[in-house]
Symmetry: C2
DNA sequence: TATGACATGTAATCTGTTACATGATTAG
DNA sequence: CTAATCATGTAACAGATTACATGTCATA
């Protein structure tokens, strides 16, 4: 049995369904009205994605009876789906994740608190910090090497990438301290 | 005649070819050894993309004769291709570009200096600033609205997006001043 | 009765990924 | 002779976009 990997859209859908069961139409509306819209809000993407998840037994849809209007199908996470979601959220962040899937990492973080708990959120942030502290020096080194060769705009574009990562690192510190402050206030 | 739009990979290829004619293999190596690797470095993407560009008369390949080894095809930009590239580079940056195609905007900037000239680079930076100054307040407003509803991690993830844009804005200022400094030094 | 919002889906097309195939040349 | 590297490609498949199709209900 081949383990097909789920695309980002699938996880985004599962994350939303974990928060609250919903129909395809609901999900689509949520997508287009929030910053999740980057994961596509077209029916041609969402409905097939839902079918795939259902085929993999990660979500289950149940047709809403009566209630006027056309039949709607309400989807909810299965236990297997919840396990898969949690697994995705807590898996450690690699350098490749920073380079190619930063958006997904942020998505994982956004869902982490509800799906797994605040401790997992902090773990994830620390994992991001770890990956960044490996990645940033390598980038800075690359910048030094390219300095004589490239154009000014080429160099500046590269620098912009470095700055984004530095900014992300600063954010992780802010985020960790926010969580820890909250924890103290919660326990007082 | 339908105007098919060129995917990011196509522009990345054209940008490199503008700097220097090259074979598919050369391009692939450049891709995988630089931060362009995010635009795919697999032959199954690059060779078909090159054929498409050639069919559209944006690049032209010419087979290198003799020289041992297997035949290689050296591609170079056509005048039409150069015009298309320039057009892509200088087109104004929209809010949607910030949200969905930030990577492409940076790519455009990286190529801008060689393909069009430093004045275009500065224009592009100003266009980014303009889009950011429209976009950032809207995001900050959205954050206020979501504050009571969302989880901490959800809110923090959103804040991270805002910070990335703020960081980008700071970078544009840095980049513009770098260009202007260079111009003074160049003319002295 | 017509239109528009709700709600779900399909079909054509495009592009990318993975994995493989092909061939020539050089190094051990 | 074998493996590695150079160099180019193809085939099968997955997933996304666009555009369209379908059907129900409310309201004007």
């Amino acid at each position: 049995m081949k383990r097909r990997n789920i695309p980002a859209l699938g996880y985004a859908l599962m994350g939303l369904l974990q928060q609250k069961p919903a129909s395809g139409y609901d999900l689509r509306k949520t997508f287009s009205s929030t910053s999740l819209r980057s994961y596509s809000d077209s029916p041609g993407a969402i409905y097939p994605a839902l079918s795939r998840l259902e085929k993999q037994d990660l979500i289950r849809g149940q047709i809403e009876e009566g209630k006027g209007l056309r039949r709607r199908q309400i989807f909810r996470l299965t236990p297997k789906g919840l396990a898969e979601l949690k697994n995705w959220v807590v898996s450690p962040v690699t350098r490749d994740d920073l380079i190619w899937n930063l958006g997904q990492v942020l998505l994982r973080f956004a869902f982490s608190e509800q799906a797994v708990g605040p401790a997992a959120s902090i773990e994830l942030l620390k994992s991001v910090q770890h990956a960044l502290r490996e990645h940033l020096p390598a980038l800075q080194h690359e910048l030094k090497l390219m300095k004589p060769v490239a154009t000014i705009s080429g160099r500046l574009a590269f620098e912009s990438g470095i700055r984004q990562y530095e900014c992300l690192l600063a954010w992780t510190r802010h985020a960790i301290s926010t969580f820890e402050k909250e924890r103290k206030e919660g326990s007082s």
